[in-house]
Symmetry: D2
Subunit: 247 residues, 4 copies
C-alpha cells in the first residue's frame, strides 16, 4: 500500500471546542480534537492527505464527493449525536460497506454511524475521574498492535467499563484496565461489507490523550490497516434493501 | 430449561398466501408458511406455546405485550419488507437486545429486522431453479446441529449463494452446497445484546421445505438454543442512543 | 439435558496437598483442591456423579474406562505438569475431540492437556501478591454467565496478566482486572472436534477461591455447558494421523 | 512491507516426485510441486527470495538457521507425514509461534506441523474423481482475497468435504463447492502466538493446480499477509512448558 496515496478525513462534531467546555481545553487542543488528530496522522502517515470535517459544515462536510475521495474516515462525537442527519449516516454506512475504512473514537461508540453499523446499543459504563488507563495488547499478530508497547500507560483518562454492548469483535486487539477496577475492550475491529472498522476508546475532551505518542502510533496503524485504496468503491448490492438506506 | 414454558411467536408477512402465489402453494401450505412452522414447532417442542402473527394484524401482531410474552420470535418475509413499520422494527430490535431469541428464515435476510441487527446489506446471490441443496454441518459441537444428519438433503430449493453480506457469524453451523455450484453459509448464529439470533436459509414459498423432518429438527434445536426464559427482559441501557430507537 | 445423568471427573495433581504447601492449605482445603471442587459440583449439580482422580493413581486415574464414563473432566495442575504421561494426554485429547467436555482451571493453562489442545505455549504473566480480582462478564448471552453478578469480586488472588498466548477464544465470556493493573481473559471457550472446552482462571492453592459461591456458580454453569451426555463418544476420524496419537 | 526483503521457504516431502506417482506427473510438475510453488512465488512476489527444502535434505532442510532466515514457510506433504522428525516439528512450531508465517497446502492438513498447531485431528472427507472445484470468497475485506475472482474455477481437483476437523478459523476467507456436492472451508486463517497461518486446500499431485493463475494469486496474497519481516523472532515465553518442546 502506498502511503502517498492515502486520503484520510477526520470528522469531529466540534461542540466542545465551540463551548470551550471543559474550560482550558483550548490549551491542549488549540486547533480542536480534529486538529490534534490530523496532526497525529500527518506525523504517522507521511505524505497522506488529511482533511477535516465538522458537524456545522454543509452536509456535515461529508457529501458524496468527500466520501468518494476518502480511504479512511475518523469519527469523533459526544454531545450532538442526534444532530447528525440520518441521510449522512446512510451515506457513511453505504461507503463503509462499499470499502471505506472507519475509525470510531472514544465517545463515538454512541454515534448514529457506529450504532447503525453494529446493530446494538453500544452502551457501556463510564465514570470520569481522571483514572489511569493501561492498554494491554491481546493480539500481538495484529498490524494495529505493531510497535505498540504492552501496556500503553495513559496517566489520566475517562473510565470506560464492561459490559460494552457490541457484537463480538472480529478481532480483539486491546483490553484496557483502569485504576478504579473496570476493564474494557478498548481496541476492536469489525469487518462489515467490504469495509474495515476499528473502534479505539482512548481520547476524551478532558485530557490531552491524542498527544500521547503511543496512542498516535495506534491511530496511524489503524488507518493503515483500515485503508483499501486499491478497492473500487462499489455501491453494495442491495436489491430490495430497506428503502431508508437510499432516500 | 423447561420446554413447557417456552413461548414462541411465528411471524409471517402472509403475502404469498393471500395471492396464492405461486399457484398451488395452498396444497403444501394449506395453513400458510406460518401454519407449517407452528406445526413443526408443536412437533419439535412438546408443550411449548406457539402463536402466529401477520403483517396485516394490528401493529403487525407484534405489540409490546406480545413481544414481552415471547421467548423466541421466528421471522418469515419476502415481498413486503418495506411495509413493516419502523416502530415495529425498533420494538423487535429492543426486545432482541433485551434477551428475546430470534430466528430469521430464508428471504428474511432482507427484512428490516435482520438488516437493522446486522448493520450490513445482507444481500446475497439467488437463482430459483429447483436445485438440490445439501446442508453440511461445520460445527458438530453446536446444540443446533444435535441429531442432524450430515448432510441434510433438500431435493428442491431456491439457490442462495455467496457473497452473503453479513458480519462474520459468531458461530457458523451449516454451509450449503447447491447442484448449480453455489455455496452458502446457511446456518449462522449472532449474539447481539442479551439476545441470540439464528439465521437459517432453507425454506421458500415454492417448495414444501418446512415439512422436511430434518429441517424441522433444526428449527426446534434453533428455538431451544435461542430461548432464554430465565432472563429478565430488561430494556437495554441506551443513554444517549439514536433518538429513532425511542420514538 | 438431565442433570441426574451428568458424570463428572475432577482431576488434581495433588502435589500441593501432599507437601502441605503452602502451610495451612489444609485448613481451607481439608480434602484437597479436588475435594473442594467435587463439593462445589455436588452443590451446583444436584444428582450428578462426581469422582476424583489424582496424578499418583494408576494411569493417573484416567484410564479408558474412566474417560468413557466421563461427560466432563476438570483439570487442576501446577507443579507436576511434566510428570503427566504422554499416553494419558493422548487419551484425554482423543476423548475431548470425541465429545467429552473439559474445564481447565487456573495453572492448568500450562498443562500438557491444554497446550496440546491449543497448539500454543499458553504462557501468561503472573505475580502472586494476594491482589483483588474483579471478574467482568463480556458475553451476557453465554450460558456460563447465567446468574453471575458483574463483577465477581475475589478479595485475594494470584494475578494473571496478558499477553495470554492462546488461540482467539471461540467465545470470550469473562475478562478480569487486578488491583495491580493487569487484565486477563479469565473465562474463554474453545470448540475442538466434538468437544467443548472452558478455561477459567480463578483458583490458586494459596486462596480459598473454590469456596466462593459465585466462582462455584461459574463452575456449575461451565460443566452444564460443556457436557454432551447424548453424544456418542466416537473415536475421531483420523486416517493418516500422527502416529503418536494412537500408540 | 518491502517485498524485496521477503524470504520464503517452500517445503515439500518430494515423495510423489521420487516415485513419479502418478505417472506423468513430471509433465506438469517437471521441477516438482516445490518447483512449481517457487515459480509461482517468484512471479507473484518480485524480488522475494525463495528457497526450497525437502524431506530427504539433512534435518529436512529446516534447521535453526534456515527457519531463522524464513519470513514465510509453505508446507506440502501427503504420503510421508510420519517420516517428519518430531524435533523438526517442535522447531517449526516454535518459529511459527515466534512470528514466522506458515502456509499449509492441500494434504498438508494431516501434517504433524498443522495438527500440532491446531490441536485437532484435521481430518476431512475426500474423494479423488477429478471434479470441478469452485472457490468462493466469503470475506471480501481480507487481503488474501484481494484481486481474486468470485469464484475461482478449477476444472479438475480432488474433492475435499466437511466436516473438516479444525478449530473455528480466525478468518474464513474461502469456501469451495465441488461438482459432487461437497462443500469445504478451503481458505482459512489462524493466529497462533505471534505467527499467522493460512490453510489453502487447492493443489494435488494429480492435477496442475499450481499453474492456475488465480490460485497463484492467492498464494502470493497469502505469503504477503502471513509475512512479518519487521517482527523480531523471539523465542516464545514458555516457562514450565511441556518438555518435548525443548529437547
Amino acid at each position: 500500500m502506498n502511503q502517498q496515496q492515502l486520503r484520510v478525513t477526520v470528522w469531529n462534531e466540534g461542540v466542545h471546542e465551540a463551548l470551550n467546555d471543559p474550560p482550558g481545553m483550548a490549551e491542549y487542543y488549540p486547533r480542536g480534537i480534529h486538529g490534534a488528530l490530523a496532526e497525529a496522522l500527518h506525523e504517522q502517515l507521511p505524505g497522506a492527505t488529511v482533511r477535516t470535517a465538522l458537524l456545522d459544515d454543509p452536509g456535515h462536510g461529508l457529501d458524496e464527493e468527500v466520501l468518494a475521495a476518502t480511504d479512511v474516515l475518523l469519527w469523533w462525537g459526544h454531545k450532538a449525536h442526534d444532530r447528525v442527519a440520518d441521510e449522512v449516516v446512510d451515506r457513511v454506512q453505504r461507503h463503509v460497506l462499499g470499502g471505506m475504512g472507519l475509525l470510531v473514537l472514544h465517545s463515538g461508540h454512541f454515534s448514529k454511524v457506529f450504532t447503525r453499523l453494529m446493530g446494538t446499543t453500544c452502551s457501556l459504563f463510564w465514570r470520569n475521574n481522571a483514572e489511569r488507563e493501561l492498554v494491554w495488547t491481546v493480539d500481538p499478530t495484529h498490524p494495529i498492535a505493531e510497535g505498540v508497547p504492552n501496556p500503553i500507560i495513559i496517566p489520566e483518562q475517562e473510565t470506560y467499563g464492561e459490559h460494552f454492548d457490541i457484537p463480538a469483535p472480529d478481532e480483539l486487539v486491546f483490553i484496557s484496565g483502569f485504576s478504579g477496577g473496570e476493564v474494557f475492550r478498548s481496541g476492536a475491529t469489525f469487518h462489515r461489507g467490504k469495509g474495515r472498522i476499528f473502534y479505539f476508546s482512548p481520547g476524551d475532551e478532558r485530557y490531552p490523550v491524542y498527544h500521547h505518542p503511543e496512542v498516535r502510533r495506534v491511530l496511524g496503524n489503524g488507518v493503515r490497516w483500515a485503508a483499501r485504496p486499491g478497492v473500487p468503491r462499489e455501491q453494495p448490492r442491495v436489491a430490495n434493501a430497506p428503502q431508508d438506506w437510499f432516500a
